[in-house]
Assembly symmetry: C2
Homo-oligomer: 215 residues x 2
């Protein structure tokens, strides 16, 4: 009855296929796609490797399906945020919080994406990864430019560079963030936003620096 909601972590009760996919995702994320053999996946599932091919065409198809499900869900949320028409600072905040929530909820899929996208894009089959990256870029750059235009963000920044910076810095947290650990996604998002928006410097020290530079 319940359609599969979570592309990761939960096997759900939607059948053997999703269960196998979740097992594969965990192994891919932990060891890397290439280092994970179909026998590893079969072993972890308690079956023999040949039996996997009753469910999937190939190992590549499993990766494809994991990433596709994850990206569909994530971009659905991104589009809703942008469509809400909040001001630029609130939009950036919502995008970042949503991204950290994705790291929490779909940890394996994010890890796989981060580790493999560079190599996967060479494959015709994964050309949608390039399209998603372009949409992602346009979306974030648009918000940053709007923020510079309306005075929310500094005008002396290189928008393209800040975009890459934010994209990478948010997702790279998948390397150390552990779902269910002491840090929640919202705690991490809040600290991240505090640094990126307002800076690491003590505001008092900043005024001192400026005062010193004016002398």
């Amino acid at each position: 009855m319940t359609p599969p909601r979570n592309p990761d972590e939960t096997a759900g009760k939607s059948g053997r296929r999703d269960e196998l996919l979740a097992i594969a995702a965990g192994l891919f994320a932990e060891r890397g796609v290439r280092a994970t053999t179909v026998r590893d996946i079969a072993d972890a599932a308690g079956i023999l490797s040949g039996s996997l091919y009753h469910h999937f065409d190939s190992k590549e198809s499993m990766v494809d399906e994991i990433l596709h499900q994850f990206l569909d869900e994530l971009f659905g949320k991104y589009r809703k945020i942008v469509a809400a028409g909040l001001d630029s600072r609130a939009t950036i905040e919502a995008l970042i919080v949503t991204s950290y929530e994705a790291i929490d909820a779909a940890h394996s899929a994010v890890a796989i994406y981060q580790d493999e996208v560079k190599h996967l894009v060479a494959n015709e089959r994964f050309s949608y990864l390039v399209e998603r990256n372009t949409e992602f870029r346009d979306l974030w750059v648009g918000v940053l430019e709007a923020g510079v235009a309306d005075g929310s963000f500094r005008s002396d920044i290189d928008v393209e560079l800040v975009f890459r910076f934010m994209r990478d810095t948010v997702w790279v947290a998948v390397r150390w963030y552990r779902p269910g650990g002491s840090l929640t996604a919202h705690t991490v998002a809040a600290q991240y936003l505090a640094i990126v928006l307002d800076g690491l410097s003590d505001p008092a020290a900043l005024s001192k620096t400026i005062a010193a530079q004016q002398n």
Copy 2:
């Protein structure tokens, strides 16, 4: 017999061994270690795969040597910076500039480290990667704590989290930075420091002064 000086990019004149290592590093960085076969390396060098074993024990030894050379050089520079006893803000700046310079000068080695460290540490042979990571952490956390103590940095930050944030955000630039491209390592470092230290937000009243002084 001449000791290899450059861990990356340059074959130098120190012999065939270093030349082969540079070729291997380029392929490892581009395609991933696992996806690069010894036959790929041999092809790129214009020899047959068996001949590689005259120079190296194994593929693993090549990776080991590339990373070891790179880390020795980098940590030599880090230690000098800390030993110089600059104030905390200047120390952070120097560490970050040095790191971006490493991305420029040893691009392949940084890429290999970033892509493979997670999987390599499971191997006894690469336990020095864990030690280096610990030294790196202690070094950066020490500077951050000193900065909070002396009032340079905000006191409402989670130092451990900021350390991870800075570590990851600096190195992840290897994914898009291209040595010899239009952006120099120093330009990127300057923009990075501008964001991390002073924040993305336009600091209202002081904005014009800051913008004018930074241009």
